[in-house]
Amino acid sequence: MKFSFTNDQHEFATGLRTLLEREFTASDLRVVWESGTGNDAALWKRLAEMGVLSMMLPTADGGLGGDFVDSVLLVEELGRAGVPGPVLETMTVGALALRGTQWAAGIADGSVAVTAALMGERYVPHASSCVVLLIADGDVVRAIENPELSQSTIEGIDGGRRLSALAGAGTGTEAGDGSEAEAEAEAGDGSEAGDGSGTGTRGVVLAADRDHLVDAGALAASAYLLGLSSRMLAIAGDYARDRRQFGQPIGSFQAVKHLMADALLKVEFARPAVYRAAWSHANGVETVGRDVSMAKALASDAAQKAARSALQVHGAIGYTWECDLQLFMKKAWALIPAWGSASYHRRRVADAVLGPR
């Protein structure tokens, strides 16, 4: 029994952290927000060069051949920096789904960004900056290249995560439970569709298992939320040391100390659950669904608490557009419901531990 990471794993994560601290500050994130693109092309290239995006791709595809234990600390660092764009989707769900396909090399070199709508989502994040969209068609997963998007804009809360609806029938993910999809699947040859009936029946059928990918997405979101939570508490800590009222730093008041200690408690007890889920996912253990759901429920609750506490510590300044805290809070508020809410995952744990209702 060894519940720790190797030196290499730690060093890779530290290297990524150093790079992001130097090259991707909150001001850079704000520039992405203002650009309206929801992504940073230069940063994406750096992440590809560093091997972050291809960590979970097999070496045969030009990847580093790692698994989720190798990448969980990296995703956490991406969260700490609030890296925008479909990064957690591409490097985990995308790499697992598209290994051995014509797109795999593109993930490694940074030319193929991947997003996913595998749980019947109404709005697809990042679709405008992705080459490949993964959708579920019952238990079958399909890859759609350059999906056709609805022209109407959807304004999301997080400027680092653009939302789209797909052209035709909504997002096409209604096919997730769908007989309609099966009926039309015959027509799909994996290239084009254009029959206006939704994209659920188009694209290339992949070998990947849907549940495995959904677990990967939920787990990656959990790790990213851990990083975000740490960043929000760090920002709040800086403010509490700096801001003075009643003649002393507000961080010296117990009311502020206890608010932050309670938030840290939630974060630090979510952390081992996320790491364990990474191991369970990497090794395909029987309890992987339960473990991932526990991680997502705890990491979501922790991020909610961290965001709320960090905002409260800031007082009115935290409620301004100018304060950088919002960049991280809003990413948290976008990811907390993504890949299944805490409530959804809590029920999934309940079914595993207590038996189905």
Binding site: G251, R271, W279, L354
Partner: protein, 383 residues
């Protein structure tokens, strides 16, 4: 990372399980905070010691088994799984023992550790004073050197001293420099409770037992050799001891896992299957117990890799104590009117509920722990 047990770990588990299943008393012992229960628990400890299971993580030469922390966790899982008795000498084996090993002299190790491991000597803690509860640095109990400098002469009063009613020894810190204030001028001293001038007055607790006591010291003479750590170093020695208490050693995850498993059994037996709120609450408790277990494994692996546990152990203390209260509150909710009965089939839950309420208070209140986390982990300014 590998969360599977090695064959050696599995073998260790099997060995512990076999011994415990063959030796754990068939009937639960009476509370160790009663005279009869204390005696029976002392006998149980002697039996554990005889088989080398009383202090598994201690070196063999002091009566332990030389097990590493992971094996200790495995032992704890097996121990609580079979419902073995509570540890009457935990103040000694889990708190003072590791401190003696860290800062004690060779003579102290030889003199105190084996008798502690066998529970021939059971230890009480004596931290608090009437005017020094959460504010422990304002203690006033005094120690002065005898004229020939061979003895401490102690005067003062301690309170909330767990196990002191029937224990043999106590440990605590005394102000040995009368000019000193706060954390300075304190010395950690070991005191036999049968020394002339020591008076122990039991205090009846919320649960009706006498688990703690006041200790009065009136011109009590103890040899200078009973100083643990240097003269004037009492505060840092006490912090090391309290670190063990809040950290991995006092409340191993297995206890809570077993408590939550019992809660789940209770829920299956008498819970309303259509009560989704209760179902979610029980699930949350399971996640907390599992989270605590994982957190402990992460910490223990870090220790085995040569790391140290610092102030973050305060996080543990808040987590397990609040989890324990929550588990018992839920049980009381499930029990309904039966939760009002101090006898009957659910007595264990009612006792457990009362006991759980002491958790957020003892070993430093959870508010003090939050201050420690804020100051030393989050680096917020001192108030």
């Amino acid at each position: 990372m590998d969360l599977n047990e090695t064959p050696e770990e599995e073998a260790f588990r099997a060995e512990a399980r076999a011994w415990l299943e063959a030796n754990v008393p068939a009937q639960p012992l009476p509370s160790f905070d009663t005279e009869r229960g204390f005696q029976l628990h002392r006998e149980w400890e002697a039996k554990l010691y005889g088989a080398g299971w009383s202090a598994v993580s201690w070196p063999v030469e002091y009566g332990g088994r030389g097990a590493d922390y992971l094996e200790w966790l495995i032992f704890e899982e097996e121990y609580w799984r079979v419902g073995a008795p509570g540890r009457v000498n935990q103040n000694g084996i889990f708190l003072l023992g590791p401190t003696i090993m860290e800062v004690g002299t060779q003579e102290q190790k030889t003199r105190f550790l084996p008798a502690m491991a066998s529970s021939a000597e059971v230890w009480a803690q004596a931290w608090s004073e009437p005017e020094a509860g959460s504010d422990m640095a304002s203690i006033r109990s005094a120690g002065r050197l005898s004229d020939d400098a061979t003895e401490w002469i102690l005067d003062g009063q301690k309170i909330w001293a767990s196990r002191a009613v029937w224990a043999d020894w106590c440990f605590g810190i005394f102000r040995t420099d009368p000019e000193s204030i706060r954390h300075k001028g304190l010395t950690f001293i070991l005191v036999p409770l049968d020394a002339p001038g020591v008076i122990v007055r039991p205090i009846v607790q919320l649960d009706g037992d006498t688990g703690f006591a006041e200790i009065f010291f009136d011109d009590v003479h103890v040899p200078i050799e009973n100083t643990l750590g240097g003269v004037g170093q009492g505060w840092s020695v006490a912090m090391a001891t309290a670190g063990f208490e809040r950290g991995v050693s006092l409340r191993s995850p297995a206890r809570f896992h077993v408590a939550v498993e019992r809660l789940i059994d209770l829920w299956r037996k008498i819970g309303d299957p259509n009560d989704d709120a209760m179902r979610d609450a029980v699930t949350d408790l399971w996640m907390q117990a599992e989270g605590y277990r994982l957190h402990t494994y992460l910490t223990v692996t870090k220790l085995l890799d040569g790391g140290r546990v610092g102030s973050e152990s305060s996080l543990n203390k808040i987590f397990w104590s609040e989890m324990d209260v929550r588990a018992h509150e839920l049980a009381m909710q499930l029990l309904g009117p039966d939760g009002e009965r101090m006898d009957g089939p659910y007595e264990q839950w009612v006792d457990g509920f009362l006991f759980s309420l002491s958790g957020p208070i003892y070993a430093g209140t959870n508010e003090i722990q939050r201050n420690i986390i804020a100051d030393r982990v989050l680096n917020l300014p001192r108030g």
